[in-house]
């Protein structure tokens, strides 16, 4: 009986944690070699017109405060170290969203002498948002789908 009680308590705790996590995603944005097209779209996403604060999304300056790393662009040889360091600095649990064609596959920069490749060759990626550049609505959709998948994971676990 006492084991059961503890289990229900743990389950309830997990549910509260997941609720909090999915309702308060704080973002940090990192450009690892993008042409700036996707970055401008991300900035447009954060403007009052799309008002991401209604989902609890906030753009944070410090990786220590952030939950979701939004990556744009292919990974250049020089940016690899920085990308890894920013990712390592984020506290668990952390998620990565790759925004734009280059972040997904390297895009037009594929095979360039200074480019390693796409984001998930360097760090694990949880959600991909295609487009060159993706519209703000697509970026919002990608983040919301990531949050929905977290809820689904919690339910199956």
């Amino acid at each position: 009986m006492s084991i059961n009680l503890e289990k229900t308590f743990q389950d309830a705790l997990e549910q509260v944690k997941t609720w909090a996590r999915t309702n308060s995603p704080w973002l940090i944005h990192f450009n690892s070699g993008s042409c700036n097209g996707c970055d401008i779209e991300i900035l447009a996403t954060l403007t009052p017109r799309y008002d991401l604060e209604r989902f609890g999304v906030k753009l944070q300056g410090s990786p220590r405060h952030a939950d979701i790393l939004i990556c744009t662009g292919p990974v250049t040889r020089q940016a690899r170290e920085r990308l890894l360091r920013v990712y390592e600095q984020m506290p668990e649990p952390k998620y990565v969203v790759a925004v734009g064609s280059c972040a997904i596959s390297g895009g037009v920069f594929q095979g360039c002498y200074n480019v390693i490749g796409h984001i998930d060759q360097v760090i694990p990626v949880d959600a991909y948002v295609p487009g060159c550049p993706p519209r703000p609505e697509a970026i919002i959709d990608g983040v919301i789908k990531l949050l929905k998948s977290l809820e689904a994971q919690e339910q199956t676990a």
């Binding site: 604060e53 209604r54 300056g61 220590r64």
Partner: protein, 311 residues
């Protein structure tokens, strides 16, 4: 019985749970108002709570090359200082839980403890952004603290007592904003400086220095500092409303007056762009401190001539 009463005071009301929840609620009102001023929908009502639970359930990264004990203890001290200050102010129009002659000074210093802790937390880490943030936090502390103190001393001089309970008992009968408008404005703006709200958010300017002194804090530490700021917002609003806006004699008056002050603060936040740190210091010392001193002098002279402080 007395022990139970004191425990209730510490854990639920006025310090503890009540002031934490009120702090979160007021933070939401502030964010929502700013959002509406910017023509957007703004956060949902449970947003600060979700932020807090999420931060508390996150990993706390302890960086290398710093004093770990200090790093862990500072957020706790900051929140404890803010919560202790809640014991001495007339929250929800009730009498303060504890009172002694001179508690006004103690409360003001307890409120500064949070800023001191943020400054120390920034100076404790080896991160350059934290260091710059800490320098700016402490510079700002030294600039707004004197005018803020002088502004809140105005009502105390009129009443002739350093005890918050006696000052509020007098202020319940008199709208001191009419006789001390300068003090009211300086106290309100000083409160914004204390909470590092725009336009006084140079210490945590995210476009320049990442997140200021709290750059290296994650999870629990950040959550406690944010809670402390929420508590300080409530206490500061209570003090200003109780001293200048005709007192907070009952819960209705308390909520109407503090929320009205919050509306003004939110309006100022969305009206003004961030001041550079030297501009903020100049504003406080050139105008704030000088005006507060002049008003204090006038009050002292008038009292010397036997004026009772009311209209």
């Amino acid at each position: 019985m007395n022990a139970i009463g004191m425990l209730t005071n510490l854990l639920f009301f006025p310090a503890g749970l009540f002031v934490l929840v009120t702090g979160l609620a007021y933070e939401w009102v502030d964010r929502k108002l700013v959002a509406r001023f910017q023509n957007r929908l703004g956060p949902r009502w449970f947003q600060p709570l979700a932020d807090m639970v999420k931060l508390l359930s996150k990993e706390e990264v302890i960086p290398e090359g710093l004093d770990v004990r200090l790093f862990v203890a500072l957020p706790v001290v900051a929140l404890a200082g803010a919560l202790t200050a809640a014991l001495y102010v007339p929250l929800v129009g009730l009498n303060p839980a504890h009172s002694f002659p001179g508690d006004l000074i103690v409360t003001l210093y307890l409120l500064s403890l949070l800023t001191m802790c943020i400054g120390l937390a920034g100076a404790n880490t080896r991160d350059r952004f934290s260091l710059i943030g800490a320098t700016r936090t402490l510079t700002q502390l030294f600039s707004y603290e004197a005018p803020f103190l002088l502004a809140l001393l105005g009502p105390a001089i009129v009443v002739g007592s350093w005890q918050i309970r006696e000052v509020t008992a007098y202020a319940n009968q008199h709208w001191l904003i009419l006789t001390q408008p300068v003090g009211f404005v300086i106290a309100l703006i000083g409160l914004m400086g204390k909470l590092e709200l725009p336009p006084f958010d140079a210490p945590e300017a995210e476009t320049e220095i990442v997140a200021g002194a709290l750059t290296e804090y994650s999870g629990r530490g950040l959550a406690l500092f944010r809670l402390g700021k929420g508590v300080e917002l409530v206490i500061g609003l209570t003090l200003v409303a109780a001293f200048f806006l005709g007192g907070v004699a009952n819960p209705v008056a308390f909520f109407i007056k503090t929320l009205a002050l919050l509306l003004i603060i939110a309006g100022l936040q969305s009206l003004f762009a961030r001041l550079r740190i030297d501009q903020a210091v100049g504003l406080w010392w050139r105008y704030g401190a000088l005006l507060a001193l002049v008003q204090l002098l006038v009050l002292i002279i008038l009292r010397f001539w036997g004026w009772n402080g009311g209209l």
